[in-house]
């Protein structure tokens, strides 16, 4: 190698290193937007309707949504539940911040892998848009719910997938349905991208398909092995009002897919289509922007452009069928913001998307 070539390589290396540092600093500053979102939305106290997540455990037998209560149960020997409530809120805040950090790491990885300067800027600004979106405030608002832990499981598994560690990913996603059966909806974007990558890429097809299916199989198992007697004992031991308990027996544990859909189609959707469209339009704009960013950054590299775009759209919208089963509109619509981020991350990940060379 001649001297001038070595100098050029050295300069290029230094430029790449300084660009990497600049990108890291920019993404780190954008995390503040997510922190502001958490602060903006954080509920000050644990809603009594959400206490059962932390009190119901496997002590009487296996029940749905009993994992978090089982993990907390030993602490009740040391502290009263009233003392634990601030800790639950504190843990929720920590989990929200962990999600912000995890997403920043994904976007940093995506920026680093991209050679085009305009795509790097767009990816960084996409992270800013995600941090400003309704995702973080709604997540913080729902302190006491377990959605934040479901998202942590999804992002952890996604990390393993991007780094081709499918067994670790499978072991991670087993936890999701034990926390809440709704995990499968949050998992859908990853599952769809795994399935698509099997169609387009030859490597690890069996592992990817099994991984995609694991949460669905686990959910069936959770519902199958749920012990109604254990639930009744847990409910009896819960010092909540009869009104709250009755509502949970009817609407949390007493619903099937069919009865949930029936309730929604009879009582929630009729007369409220206008409200529904307003909430959808408001909440989904960030998802559309992230999808647009994915097209801008990776369209020229996708080997099957239009099919990949269709898959990306489907994956972004895939958590939304849960709206047909539950009336927490903002809570479920914000899941699409995370789904769009997963799509943007996956659209540029060689393990999930068939990509051509990056000709910068």
């Amino acid at each position: 190698m001649g001297t001038s070539e070595a100098l050029t390589n050295g300069r290029l290396g230094a430029t790449a290193a300084s660009r990497g540092r600049a990108a890291r600093a920019l993404l780190a500053s954008f995390m503040l937007a997510g922190v502001v979102g958490v602060w903006k939305g954080l509920a000050p106290a644990l809603d009594p309707r959400k206490e059962f997540y932390w009190l119901f455990s496997y002590q009487y037998g296996f029940i749905r949504r009993g994992l978090m209560g089982t993990l907390v149960h030993p602490l009740l020997k040391v502290w009263s539940f009233a003392d634990l409530k601030p800790m639950i809120i504190g843990a929720h805040v920590i989990a929200c911040v962990a999600i912000i950090v995890a997403l920043q790491m994904f976007f940093q990885d995506a920026v680093r892998r991209n050679q085009r300067w305009e795509a790097r800027i767009t990816l960084a600004l996409s992270f800013l848009c995600l941090m400003g979106s309704p995702l973080m405030p709604v997540l913080a608002h729902d302190a006491g719910y377990v959605d934040v832990y479901l998202m942590a499981v999804v992002l952890t598994a996604l990390w393993f997938v991007v780094h081709e560690r499918y067994v670790a990913a499978a072991l991670t996603v087993v936890i999701g349905p034990l926390i809440h059966e709704g995990f499968v909806f949050l998992w859908c974007p990853v599952a769809i991208m795994l399935a698509w990558s099997c169609a387009m890429l030859k490597a690890d097809r069996a592992k990817k398909l099994i991984l995609a299916a694991v949460p669905f199989l686990c959910t069936v198992g959770v519902i199958w092995y749920h012990d109604q007697t254990a639930l009744r004992l847990s409910m009896a031991a819960w010092p909540a009002s009869d009104e709250v308990k009755g509502a949970h027996m009817a609407y949390t544990f007493g619903q099937t897919l069919h009865s949930s859909f029936d309730h929604m189609s009879r009582y929630e959707f009729p007369g409220h289509w206008g409200n529904f469209m307003i909430a959808v339009a408001y909440s989904l704009v960030p998802s559309l922007l992230l999808l647009w960013a994915a097209v801008f950054c990776y369209w020229q590299r996708w080997t099957a452009r239009w099919p990949t775009l269709l898959v990306a759209v489907a994956a972004t919208l895939s958590p939304l069928p849960i709206v047909a089963l539950g009336w927490d509109l903002s809570r479920f619509l914000s899941w699409s913001n995370l789904a769009a981020a997963i799509v943007l991350i996956g659209a540029g990940a060689p393990t999930l998307t068939s990509l051509g060379p990056d000709d910068a």
């Binding site: 937007a33 502001v36 979102g37 602060w39 903006k40 939305g41 954080l42 509920a43 000050p44 106290a45 809603d47 305009e118 800027i121 767009t122 600004l125 996409s126 800013l128 848009c129 941090m131 400003g132 979106s133 309704p134 405030p137 709604v138 913080a140 608002h141 929630e268 959707f269 007369g271 409220h272 409200n275 529904f276 307003i278 909430a279 408001y282 909440s283 704009v285 960030p286 922007l289 647009w292 960013a293 801008f296 009336w327 927490d328 509109l329 903002s330 809570r331």
Partner: protein
């Protein structure tokens, strides 16, 4: 300018605009029939920004058909909280000196012009007395509350004076867009002297004048 550069500029501006809009907007928590908006722990000036008023405008009529608000309006006194005052079986409230009744909790109605009227009667314990009546809007976290709770309280209408049994006090007020979006309407009655019996509260919307 190359097409891709134009595309980049447009997209990046949209991303930044979107980020700024949603960051400054309140936390929107919607169900199918009602929505609440809040700023939990950020400075008050967030509520004075353009995204806050735009969001309030987007969701301006969302709560118009709220079943909870409809239930409250049918029998408002039954949903009031007694802080010292005493509620009887007919949902009337004996309010003595220094005693307070307030509520209902998280009463969300659309913006507009309203008249609240307070009806008083008598029972064995209470008849005439002095009272202060208020219609407030209170911005608070969805889980917050209490007689003096709430981050920001604004009084929309007030009355202070002597009440005789059979009196009916009307308080017209205007609920502005951002107040309706971020706050909940609260009725308060504080006893100043003797004891009064608050037996009815009703709320009627004043139709907008025809142009």
């Amino acid at each position: 300018m190359p097409r891709r550069a134009i595309h980049a500029v447009v997209l990046n501006l949209a991303l930044v605009a979107g980020a700024a809009f949603y960051l400054l907007s309140p936390t929107v928590y919607a169900y199918f029939s009602e929505v609440s908006m809040s700023y939990s722990r950020v400075p008050a000036w967030f509520a004075a920004t353009a995204p806050a008023s735009m969001t309030a405008r987007i969701f301006a009529r969302y709560n118009a058909g709220s079943p909870i608000a409809a239930r409250f309006r049918k029998r408002l006194p039954c949903y009031l909280v007694d802080a010292g005052a005493r509620q009887n079986q007919d949902c009337a409230h004996d309010i003595g000196r220094g005693q307070l009744v307030y509520g209902p909790p998280n009463f969300k109605i659309p913006s507009g012009r309203y008249v609240a009227w307070f009806g008083f009667s008598r029972d064995e314990a209470c008849a005439a007395g002095e009272v202060r009546l208020e219609v407030d809007t209170k911005w608070w976290s969805d889980s917050g509350g209490g007689p003096s709770g709430g981050r920001f309280r604004k009084t929309l209408a007030t009355y202070a004076g002597r009440i005789e049994p059979g009196d009916r006090i009307e308080l017209p007020f205007t609920l502005k867009l951002v107040d309706a979006a971020l706050g909940a309407v609260e009725f308060r009655a504080v006893g100043v002297s003797d004891c009064v019996l608050l037996s009815r509260i009703e709320l009627n919307e004043i139709p907008a004048p025809l142009r």
